[in-house]
Symmetry: C3
């Protein structure tokens, strides 16, 4: 095979996938069980199943097409995202079930647990978005496996050490995924990044595919944010949906305005219209349990969109030049900053409600601890993963084959056989 | 800036968006509230939320991709549709809530009210479809704001003056939107339109994106028509869904047949397959409350598709040449004529059920009044909007930049910065 | 008209469509009724409607875009699929209702019956996938009409002769559709097939549209498999959803691994990632009523994906060369083999549960009979259809116009009129 081709992944990708899959099947065979004792009030299934479907659409369709914007990276963007999501969800089922396995000997699978698992996969997909294009699928799967492990560990620590509730702890997925990915991309830095990769641009049609993914995410984000809000308190679920809806609406308008304002020729930028319209959903998701009034959600959406749009416009390039962090999908500005903003908003809204001074200080300390724990764990997991993934054993793509489907996909005109 | 570029919208679009958005946030801050006292029988949320999602998919995904058929107008088609829909929905929340604000001091937001608001936004999107491509985003937003105001006023007048029920009054959205848009396009007439704009054609890939939008609309149209049918009368909701489903199915087949029949070479036309397959849904939507039997829905769908397909094939070009109305998305034939047909069908079906002669005449007069009121209001609102929008202050695009993304969007290959 | 053009379908397609549609409307007018006596416990509608929507998305969006992969066949792929699905569903409503008409004089339409009808349409769509591109729309509609008739007959025979339950009998749709289509393509064999049709390849953008369809199918497959599982036994419905979900996940990973392993250069193949990821869903669907444990579903998914991927890679070309069966969408490997595998798995799982030896033999004989009946009926219906469709009366496309939209669609740049 001539050296101008990308190195073959046959001896790496296939064994890795088959091995992991067989291990998963074995573990599932011995330890899992589909929940059989369904509650008496039978419509539980019908209430939750559409919610699961919405999240599934976001994970497989939304992120997949959002990530397929580079002009020659459409197959990889959607295909690898799909593969990573499927692997990460399967792993998350096991890891999230360890506790229940420890107590009852069985990992129980039901619709709600699948939603939680898919959310862990979303955390991995966020990290993937940062290193997309500069890595091969073997890297992506290893990264996803370690990210999910780290995130589940973080969730568990937050729950057991600090007694953070599930909806709050899982919403840290944006912060965890972003920091994990940033450390990783910093460790995998390649000089090529500084003058843009030649194929890292979009074109007219790929932009529309990416827009499709983005709109799917936008539409179903209220389901994502409200999925884990307890069913009993129905008013809370409605609140979560409406808050997210309003925040998303406001951030769409604001992102467009800031995009035009910050453009020298007064033009819109499609990347802003794809990524930054979601900023409101991210920020409200993190602060959701404290948001009571529509205007609070809207104000959070407004600020998040401004921060996010300015971040995509100016911060992305500075992160590259100053810190050698090449962030393919501008995840720092799309998920990272809005989720930090949401964290701050959560703190402020809680403090506003605190009658007592001591209480307020206590809550602040507690809230800062959750953030610090998440940051510490994500950074250390990122460094470990980086060290593992850096090895040439995994056959990283050459610089000129970055963002190129041809390195990994048989192309249709080559696939004709007689 | 060289004059060959489209005029910059920086000083128009950004302030308009930010101003409107901040005003919205202020109004929401003082006067809105998410419904907190949810009914005892708790599954209300789970019943209605999927319905809301379906309508949201239609508004943001369906219309967005349907409108992105011109070969170089994909970003604008989907992006501006998105922006307009978000703004129009936010405005509709306020306007629809005025009555409740007047009586109780608060605008109550719940899932059903959001559906009603999105339907008002659909009315604006229908108008937008007529002037798409020949206007800039500032125009589109102003048009949407005024259209929504007019439509909500019309709905209120129908309800208070003529006691038309909500499902009936809101289904006038097709008639209102079409006439409003037609008056507008007539006032904004430009000589270029007569020999087609050079970029107002589709190509193979854009046609598929447009097909995607159209199929999304087709699939979820039953949810749209049945959304406001009262929950109590469950049989009615099922009836509405089945009627719409059958009418859509029949109109898809009929549109294809008429398209082939009216083509000199016996070929199908993709535009017909995209627009006219929806005609049945429009017509049945307007006449829904009177449709009882499956065959009635099917006959309505059959006639609507014939009218619509012939309209797109022959009427569109005559509207342009004879009346100087350039109708980008053939909205007159897709929404206007089928909804008039639905209005007639509603009248006939009601008369058929009337035992009494006086009753029948009364109903006829009443039914004609609702139509005349809608027409009068839509025409006058259209004229007012046209006068406002015609000004050069809003920097209309040059003729040769019509239907061109480059006038409004930073293009990916230009966006590379170092 | 110059002979280099494809023959006009004006005098064939339009009358056929109009005639069938009018006959349908007449039959519906006399014999159908929307179910009016809805059960007391009213949320039936809300439980089932999202399920219907999921299946509708699969039928119209999923299959439509999956079939639009050939580079110049996008309009036809999605458009003809749409047309065929609409016609087949309408016919299935009538045929499935004959029994109820015989007893009560009316065909009752409700949400569940529409799902059953759409599943019959899926059976036709599977057959269509085999002959796509080499036939014209008139062929496709005739084929669909006969396929649906045969499939409904088969379902009825299985139910009345062998007392096979509805969920089991309808899941034979994969086997019936595949064999019917294979016989047909063998009878319609054309020499051109042996050296590939020039336009039967995909390209980068069309591959993504096809990926979109495939992901839609993948996401909603659990709804498809669980739709007919009885509502009463809620645990069974949850089981069906989880089994399908796991099988799909495993088959996605396995398909990717086998695709890389079987490629000389260690690359993935997009066709495998589109078709073979669904194999698990097909296989589990057929064996669903016997699958109890998660690992059983996963093992079935694993095997199905291996069989399917190897089939697409090696079997497709041998079927063509050895048996003169040109299988456009590799339906044999995607639906045929996995469903046979599912049939075997069903048998084995049932035998495992049988305590009694006689019982086991009885069940085996019964199970083999259902398969043989399905095979016999599908082959004979396929031969009858082939004889009918082979006639030149239906104006088959020339070899060089195969897989070409231009034979059937007015092209946008030709559609400009002044």
């Amino acid at each position: 095979m001539a050296p101008r081709y990308a190195p073959s992944l046959r001896s790496r990708l296939a064994p890795l996938l088959l091995l992991l899959q067989l291990v998963f099947i074995l573990i599932y065979g011995f330890y899992t069980e589909v929940k059989s004792n369904v509650k008496v009030r039978g419509d539980n299934f019908f209430c939750f199943y559409p919610n699961l479907q919405d999240v599934t659409v976001m994970v497989f369709l939304g992120f997949g097409f959002l990530y397929s914007f580079p002009v020659r990276y459409g197959f990889s963007g959607s295909g690898f995202n799909f593969l990573v999501a499927v692997m990460a969800t399967q792993l998350a089922v096991i890891l999230n079930g360890i506790e229940s396995w420890y107590y009852s000997g069985k990992i129980i699978i039901d619709l709600k647990s699948i939603v939680v698992d898919e959310m862990c996969a979303v955390s991995a997909l966020i990290s993937i978005g940062i290193v997309m294009g500069k890595t091969n699928p073997v890297h992506l799967i290893l990264i996803a496996m370690l990210e999910v492990s780290g995130f589940v560990l973080n969730k568990w620590l937050l729950r057991t050490l600090l007694r953070v509730q599930l909806p709050n702890s899982i919403m840290q997925l944006h912060i965890f995924g972003t920091l994990f990915g940033l450390v990783l991309t910093w460790m995998l830095y390649r000089t090529e990044s500084e003058r843009q990769f030649e194929k890292e641009k979009s074109d007219c049609k790929m932009g529309l595919f990416s827009m499709l993914g983005s709109i799917c995410l936008w539409i179903f984000w209220p389901s994502f944010n409200s999925a884990l809000v307890k069913d009993g308190a129905l008013g809370r679920k409605l609140q979560a949906v409406c808050s997210t809806y309003l925040a998303l609406a406001v951030s769409a308008v604001t992102a467009a305005a800031v995009s035009v304002l910050s453009s020298p020729r007064g033009k819109l930028n499609l990347i802003h219209m794809q990524s930054c319209i979601l900023a409101g959903g991210v920020a409200v998701g993190v602060s959701m349990t404290a948001v009571r009034q529509p205007w609070e959600a809207m104000a959070i959406g407004f600020t998040a969109a401004i921060v996010s749009t300015i971040g995509v416009r100016y911060l992305k390039i500075h992160m590259l030049l100053a810190f050698q962090c090449h962030d393919t999908c501008a995840v720092l500005s799309t998920h990272g900053l809005p989720s930090l903003l949401g964290w701050v908003a959560h703190l402020l809204l809680q403090l506003k409600d605190c009658a007592d001074h001591t209480m307020a200080i206590r809550f602040t300390v507690f809230h800062i601890c959750t953030l610090l724990l998440t940051i510490a764990l994500s950074l250390s997991m990122g460094i470990i993963t980086g060290l593992l993934v850096k090895s040439n054993f995994w056959r990283p793509p050459q610089d000129k084959k970055c963002f190129d489907d041809q390195a990994y996909w048989e192309f249709p005109h080559l696939a004709v056989r007689k």
